[in-house]
């Protein structure tokens, strides 16, 4: 038999867990489904120093606390859910898992977050974890006294470049534009670092090597000049992609694949809200995800009350 919930939240990152806390506390029967582990991108942060009220902690600690809070208010949480089908269009919504379990619900909160953007080259995939990395804090020390490249020119790329300069012998920062998008103070710090070299206006053509990465091949956007950069490692920080495939085709997305919402985080589908990094917005932080989770939960409660009337 189908099990019925008032609300199903997709995603157990900070946005989804916060929505779970608010909805559980308001006694709405709530289930959070996550296709992976609890915590979302926060588990990738060793240290979070900008979450107000907590001086410094790890992302995992923050998300485990949120999980305990959500559960203490009666919210159910299922990590590693293998979702087969979601029906969001009608007033009675449903999700079916691959094991055949089916849950019906009235309101959905989509809080599926994002993942690091990749370049999309076959050779990039081939060298992931064999020289190509997306996490400086995790893999930096493998490149002690070795040359590396960093791809990207925003705040994350340049901040990570500074962090990686503690390990690497030489860093080539490869960027697609003729200037960096990062804050001026970060650009200044990077430019003053003697380990850094800059390759601007480049298209990444190929990653090459034997068992592990040995060089990055790039082409100048205007002149067409090919540059071969010998490296042992390459860190890619070119932004994030919204995990919106769950609602693709049913909910309105912008041209970057992010869910479009109004101020109360309603999507175009009645009873479907979106919160956190998956929705179209400028700033993506734990605090903004948590704020979204709160707004979506409050608006969802109002919708539930409207349905009861």
């Amino acid at each position: 038999m189908d099990k019925h919930y008032d609300v199903i939240i997709f995603g157990a990152g900070p946005a989804g867990l916060t929505a779970g806390i608010y909805l559980g506390r308001a006694r709405a029967k709530t289930l959070i489904l996550d296709t992976a582990t609890v915590g979302g991108q926060t588990v990738l942060s060793y240290s979070v120093a900008n979450y107000p009220g907590v001086e410094e902690t790890s992302g995992r600690e923050i998300s485990q606390t949120m999980l305990r809070q959500a559960k203490s208010f009666g919210c159910e949480v299922r990590p590693y859910a293998r979702i087969a089908e979601v029906e969001l269009a009608g007033p009675e919504k449903a999700v079916t898992l691959e094991n055949g379990s089916r849950f019906t619900f009235q309101v959905a909160v989509v809080a599926t977050g994002g993942v690091p953007r990749k370049l999309g080259l076959e050779s990039e995939e081939a060298f992931v974890s064999k020289g190509i990395s997306f996490c400086a804090t995790c893999d930096g020390d493998f490149f002690s006294d070795r040359p590396i490249a960093i791809i990207g020119g925003g705040n994350s790329a340049l901040e990570e470049a500074i962090a990686l300069s503690a390990f690497a012998s030489h860093i080539t920062i490869i960027h697609e534009f003729d200037h960096f998008q990062a804050e001026p103070w970060i650009v200044e710090e990077v430019r003053a670092n003697p380990k850094m070299e800059f390759l601007m206006e480049q298209d990444i053509r190929e990653f090459e090597g034997g068992g592990s990465l040995e060089r990055v091949i790039t082409k100048h956007k205007r002149t067409g000049e090919i540059t071969v950069t010998p490296v042992d490692g390459c860190f890619i920080f070119i932004g994030y992609v919204a995990n919106s495939s769950l609602v693709e085709g049913s909910v309105t997305l912008n041209d970057r694949g992010e869910i479009v919402t109004d101020e109360e985080l309603r999507t175009n589908l009645p009873g479907v809200f979106a919160a956190g990094d998956v929705r179209a917005k400028r700033y993506r932080q734990i605090t903004t995800a948590v704020a979204d989770g709160t707004v979506a939960a409050m608006a969802a409660l109002e919708t539930l009350r409207g349905l009861e009337r």
């Binding site: 992976a36 582990t37 990590p79 064999k130 996490c135 995790c138 893999d139 490149f143 068992g211």
Partner: protein
């Protein structure tokens, strides 16, 4: 020392009895880092579905890690965790870096046949 719900391999004798007493072993060698934690969580969640597999972790900075670090299979690995699959004491598969639930089950099925 790793703080996980898995049993830890902390010494050469630990490792020797692990592979002597268990035909199928998945050993994850990492730190308490962001790319490692999800893999430990996944291993903890798979105990029931793969009851015939011994799931263990090992501290990458501990003395026993030389068992994994010196394997030829990890020569080109640059991302933690290093995850090694042993069948009858032989390495049959190895991965580097964070893995999804699906990637781990695919690796288990590839190394040992499908879930018990």
């Amino acid at each position: 020392m790793l703080q996980t719900g898995l049993n830890h391999i902390e010494s050469q004798p630990d490792f020797e009895s692990l592979v002597r007493d268990n035909e199928k072993v998945m050993l994850c060698c990492g730190r308490m880092g962001p790319m490692c934690l999800p893999v430990y969580d996944i291993m903890e969640s798979l105990g029931e579905d793969y009851a015939n597999v011994a799931f263990r972790d090992m501290d990458f900075d501990g003395p026993a890690s030389s068992i994994v670090r010196r394997l030829p299979h990890v020569r080109d690995f640059f991302s933690l965790p290093f995850t090694i699959y042993y069948n009858n004491g032989e390495v049959v598969h190895a991965t580097s870096g964070i893995q999804t639930h699906q990637q781990v089950t695919e690796s288990l099925d590839r190394a040992f046949g499908t879930a018990s």
